[in-house]
Structures are given as C-alpha cells and as structure tokens.
Symmetry: C2
Subunit: 79 residues, 2 copies
C-alpha cells in the first residue's frame, strides 16, 4: 500500500526556514505571501493487507523515528 | 487564502534520505516498509480574492524559487 505521512511543525514552534522563504518571496515581488511554514511529506510503500493495521504501524514508526513529537505533528493517510 | 505546496523528487531521481530512513526502519523492525520517498510540504498564507489567480501566482513562485524543476515535481492546492 502507498502511505502518505505529513509532518509539520506545531503551531507555536518558530519556523526560520519558512520565514526565510517568505522574505525571499517578498523580495522577488510576491508580496501577497504573508506566511510560509515548511514541513515534510513522506511517501511509503508498505506491504500489508489491512489498511488499519498498516496505518497503525506507520503511526508507530512516526512516533519512534519519522517525526519529533515534541515539536512536530504528523498525519498518516493510507492512499 | 491557505495554499498547500507539495514538492517531491521526480520518479527517476534517487532519494538517499528516503533510502536511509527505509534502512533504519528495517533495522527497527518495520520490515514491511519497502520504500520511502521524502518531499516537502509548504503551507502558505496568501492574500487575494480569486482562487485561480492565487494558484497561478504560487505556481510561478514554485518555478522561480520553491521547487527545482529539474529534479522536482510540484503541486499547488488552494485550500
């Protein structure tokens, strides 16, 4: 199965990379862009038959390795 | 408007970061994960009234700055 993992910084965590991109966009003339937040998008191929089992395993992998639960939120979608 | 930008490596471009993550997952016991690809997810706040105009501007920003069109694909979604 294809599984999408979306990892984003928690709302109250500063995002200097996003802020740097926003500043460059402003300099390039994209002044209508008022904020940028940068996260990660992972696409996994996972062997398995049961969608719920696959989702639970990938959520476990997020907590253990893929995301940093202190500063990041994650969302798992079985496609 | 909130705009989501999904940036991923083109299919035939090697992804050493994804491959490293896959290897660690295997070592941790997630042997059912056979492939990992890592991309970027950006969330932009963009001022504007017309969805199509906003989408076109963000696509322009992708080509100019946010993505590397030689090795990456991008997808813009106005939320």
């Amino acid at each position: 199965m294809k599984v999408e993992v979306r990892i984003s910084l928690k709302r109250d965590v500063l995002d200097p990379q996003g802020e740097a991109i926003r500043r460059v966009l402003t300099r390039l003339g994209y002044t209508e862009v008022s904020a940028v937040r940068v996260g990660k998008l992972m696409l996994l191929d996972v062997e398995g038959e049961e969608r719920e089992h696959v989702r639970a395993r990938v959520e476990e992998a997020c907590r253990e390795l893929l995301a940093n639960p202190i500063i990041e939120d994650f969302e798992v979608r079985v496609l």
